[in-house]
Subunit: 470 residues, 2 copies
C-alpha cells in the first residue's frame, strides 16, 4: 500500500472506532456549534439575567413560605405572574392539598436546673412537630447519639426528654453526605423516643458550624406511637448541654405552640414551551417554591426556583426555539410533605406523559460543579454514556457529570424512563444556612447564582438538541 492509502484505511478505522460512542444518539455532537452556543448562554447569564433580582424579591419581600402559609400563596401568585411575562406557550397552576403546619408563638427550650443554674437555649420547633400545650414539658434530659441507643435505653426513657446530639461529621468533604448520615435523628428521633414513653425530644441542629443559630427541618411521626414535641437547638447550645450533662443531671423545660391546622389547597406553578419537533418529549427543570418559615428560603430553594426560571429567560433572550418541550415546574411542599411532587407525578403518569429528562436544583446557589445523574438501574448506563459525550463541552465551565441521586421532587419520574439530574454546586457553605434564619439573600452571591443558571441552561440545551436514547 502507498502511504496515502495507509492513511485512508487508518481514517476509516478511526471513524469505525469512534462510532459506538455516539450510537443511539439522534445526531453527532457538533462540538464547535455547541461550544459557541454554551458560551453565549454564559455570556448572557453573566451580563443580563434577572435571577438575582427575582431571588431578592422571593426571599426578602415574600420571605419564608412554608406550604399553606400566606407567604406560600403569595409566592405562587408571584411565580405565575412572572411566568406569564417570560414567553412560555402555557402557564398553569396545578392544585394539591398541602399540610398546614404553623409554629405559633415563639418556642422555648430552657435549662431549668443544672450546675450552671437556669437559662434559655436557642431553639426552633421542628416542622410538623406537635406543641407542648401552654404549660410546657419539664423533665430530666437523657443524651443519645443514635436511634439504636434509644432502643437500648428503652424503658429508662420514660417521662424523659431525649437529647439527640450526634454532630454532622465535619470531615466529610461532601457536606450532603454528612447531612445524610445525621438527619435520621431529626426525622425519626421523636417517634423512636416516644415508643419508650419519652415526653419530648431536643435535636442538635444539622450544620457543621458551631454557632448560635438553630436549624429546623421536617420530622415524621410513626403511626401508632404518641406524637411528642421535637425542637432543634443550636450546635453551641448542644455542646453546652453535653458539658452540663457530664457534671450532673439536667432538667429541661420545653414549650412549643406548634400545631397542624387542616390541610389547605396550594399549587405547583408550571410553565412550558412546547417542542417544535418532539413535543411529547419533556425536559423538566425545577426547584421547590416552598421554604421553611424562618429565614427567606434564599438558597433552599429560592435559588433552585430562579435557576429554573432563568433557563427560560436565557433561552428566550438567545432566541432559542426548543425541539422538545421544556417545562419549568416550581413544586409546592417539598419541605414537609412532598404533596406537590406526588401530585405532579400522579397527574403526569395518568396523562401518559414521557419525561425524557428532569433536572432539579435544590442544593443552593453556589458555584456550579456539575450534575449527578440517575435513572432506573436498567437504563442508567446507556443514558449516562450518552450524556458523557457532552462532558468536553461542560468541562471548561468546571462542570462534571457523575452518577448519583438527583432531587426529591423529580424522583417519581424515574419510572417514566426519565434521566434525572441533580444540579451540584459547591457544597461547603450550604449547611451554614440550611433551614435557618440566615438563609437570606445576603448569603447568596449574584455571580455564583448566575453561573448556576448558565450551567443548567447549557444542560437543557444539549438535552433538547440531541435527545437521549430510549
Amino acid at each position: 500500500m502507498t502511504s496515502t492509502c495507509k492513511m485512508w484505511w487508518l481514517s476509516i478505522w478511526v471513524v469505525f472506532l469512534c462510532l459506538p460512542v455516539s450510537y443511539g444518539q439522534v445526531q453527532q455532537v457538533d462540538h464547535q456549534a455547541d461550544a459557541s452556543f454554551i458560551r453565549k448562554i454564559y455570556d448572557q447569564a453573566l451580563t443580563d439575567c434577572a435571577a438575582y433580582s427575582w431571588l431578592t424579591h422571593l426571599s426578602e419581600d415574600i420571605g419564608g413560605r412554608l406550604a399553606g402559609s400566606p407567604q406560600a400563596a403569595a409566592a405562587v401568585s408571584w411565580a405565575q405572574q412572572l411566568m406569564d411575562t417570560l414567553g412560555f406557550d402555557s402557564v398553569w397552576l396545578q392544585p394539591c392539598m398541602v399540610p398546614h403546619w404553623v409554629r405559633g408563638e415563639r418556642e422555648q427550650v430552657r435549662v431549668a436546673a443544672s450546675v450552671l443554674g437556669s437559662f434559655d437555649l436557642r431553639a426552633l420547633a421542628l416542622g410538623n412537630s406537635v406543641g407542648t400545650g401552654p404549660e410546657g414539658v419539664l423533665a430530666e434530659v437523657v443524651e443519645v447519639f443514635t436511634l439504636k441507643a434509644v432502643d437500648s435505653l428503652g424503658a429508662a426513657l420514660k417521662d424523659k426528654i431525649v437529647f439527640y446530639n450526634r454532630p454532622m461529621d465535619p470531615t466529610r468533604i461532601n457536606t450532603f453526605e454528612a447531612y445524610g448520615a445525621a438527619v435520621d435523628q431529626r426525622v425519626f428521633g421523636a417517634s423512636r423516643a416516644a415508643r419508650y414513653g419519652a415526653k419530648a425530644v431536643v435535636v442538635r441542629s444539622l450544620t457543621t458550624r458551631i454557632d448560635d443559630i438553630p436549624h429546623t427541618g421536617t420530622l415524621r411521626y410513626e403511626e401508632g406511637v404518641p406524637a411528642i414535641p421535637a425542637l432543634a437547638i443550636s450546635t453551641r447550645d448542644a455542646e453546652l448541654l453535653h458539658e452540663l450533662l457530664q457534671k450532673g443531671p439536667v432538667q429541661l423545660y420545653v414549650r412549643a405552640d406548634a400545631h397542624m391546622l387542616p390541610p389547605v389547597r396550594s399549587w405547583n406553578v408550571i410553565g412550558e414551551i412546547r417542542g417544535s419537533t418532539h413535543p411529547d418529549q419533556i425536559i423538566l427543570v425545577g426547584g421547590h417554591l416552598d421554604s421553611w418559615d424562618v429565614g427567606g428560603g434564599a438558597h433552599d430553594d429560592g435559588a433552585g426556583c430562579v435557576h429554573a426560571l432563568a433557563v427560560i429567560e436565557l433561552l428566550r433572550k438567545l432566541n432559542y426555539r426548543p425541539k422538545r418541550t421544556i417545562r419549568c415546574v416550581l413544586f409546592m411542599n417539598e419541605e414537609n410533605g412532598m404533596a406537590g411532587a406526588r401530585t405532579y407525578w400522579a397527574v403526569s403518569d395518568s396523562l401518559e406523559e414521557y419525561h425524557m429528562a428532569a433536572i432539579e436544583s435544590d442544593r443552593g446557589g453556589f458555584t456550579p460543579r456539575g450534575f449527578t445523574v440517575d435513572a432506573l438501574p436498567e437504563l442508567l448506563d446507556q443514558k449516562f454514556e450518552a450524556v458523557m459525550d457532552w462532558a468536553p463541552l461542560l468541562e471548561p465551565y468546571g462542570l462534571h457529570l457523575e452518577k448519583g441521586g438527583s432531587g426529591a421532587d423529580i424522583g417519581g419520574l424515574r419510572t417514566q424512563g426519565a434521566l434525572l439530574f441533580g444540579f451540584k454546586p459547591d457544597p461547603q457553605r450550604y449547611f451554614d444556612f440550611h433551614h435557618a434564619e440566615t438563609d437570606r439573600i445576603q448569603a447568596v452571591n449574584k455571580r455564583e447564582l448566575e453561573l448556576g443558571a448558565a450551567a443548567i441552561t447549557a444542560l437543557v440545551y444539549l438535552l433538547d438538541k440531541y435527545g437521549l436514547p430510549y
Copy 2:
C-alpha cells in the same frame, strides 16, 4: 508460547511502559499510605485548626496593615510571637526597607457640574498616589477605555481629568483573567495620562460587581513624567459618570491628601523546620502579611498567611517530622512595592540556598480547586510530570494541578530551579472584596479556609516525602 508465559511477558512490558512515569523520583509513590496521611491532614484541619481564629485576630483586631503602618508593625510582632509557639526550629525577622504611603484625610471625588447638578462619588485614592494639595483639582472629565485611547487623544487631555472606565469582563469564568485584562488602567493609567498634561485620573474599581464600594490598589509612576493624583470610584458611580457624559460635559472636583513618607524599616516574618535528611532542600510556603489600609485584608492576604501557618500547625499536630526544610514566609509589602519579596530573593541567592519548591496562597480563602505550577521553561515539563504522579491523591479533594503563574512573592525563586505553586481556590467571589472595605472576616467561610489549609499541607507533605527531580 503458553498463555501463562504470554501473560508474564505482557507484565514485563507493562512494567517497562510504566517506568518513565516515576523516573527521577526518589521513591515510588505509596498511594495507600499517602491517601491515609492526607485524609488525616483533612480530618485535623476540619476539626481542630486555628486558622480562622488567627485570621479573625489579624483582620479585625489588627486590621488593614499597609507596609510602613503601625498595623503592619503590629502584624509583624503578632506573627513572630505566634510562630514562636508553633514548634519551628527557628523563627526570625528579615529586615527590609518599605515605602510608607499614607492615605491621610478622606479623599473626595465630586461631580461639580453636570445635568444632574453636583454630588459626591464613592472614591478611594489609589495606593502610592500623590495628593492634590488642599485646594484639590477641578477639571473637565474625558472618559477613555484603554491606555491606547489616551495616546490617541494626546494633547486633547491637557488639563483634563482622565476617567478610565473599562470594566472587568464578567463573562470570563476565571475572574483573575478578567482582572489581568483590566488592571493596566489602574497601574499605568496615571502616568500615561500625565504624559499629555492631564491633571488627575479617576479609575473604575476593579470588580465584576456593580455596587457602591470603591476598590483601591497600587499604581506605578513612570520616571520623567509628572506624578498626578489617581483615585478609584465605585462601579455604580462609574456607570453613572458614563451616563452623565453621554448628556454633556462634566466637571469633576478631586481632592486627596495621600502622600508618600520616607521609607521605613519593616520585616518578613520567617520560621522554619529543618529537614531531617535533606535540610538543604527548602520547601517554602507563604503569603503576604501586608494588606491595604481599608478593610481587614482578610482574603488578601490574611487567608494566605494563616494557610501557611496552619501547614506547620497541622504537620506538628500530626507529629510529622519533615525530611526537607519547610519554611514559612510571611512577606512584607507585596501590595505596593514588593520590598519584602525582593529582599528575600536577594538574601536567599547570596546564601546559595536551593528552594526545591515554593507555594504561595494569595487568591483568597475560598473552596480549594488546586494549584497552578510554574518553573523555568527548561525545567517545567519534567517537574510537572513528577508532581502529576500525585494527582490521584489530590483529586478526591477536588484539587487539580495545571501549569500557570504562581504568586508575586515567590516568582524570584524560579532562577534557583524551584517549582512554584500558586494555591488556586474558587475565584468567583474574590474580586467582590479585593482591596476594599468589605475584605473582612465576615467574607471568609471558616470551613472553606480550613479546606485551603488542608490542601496546601497535603501538597507540602507530598513534596517533602518524595522530593522533585533536579
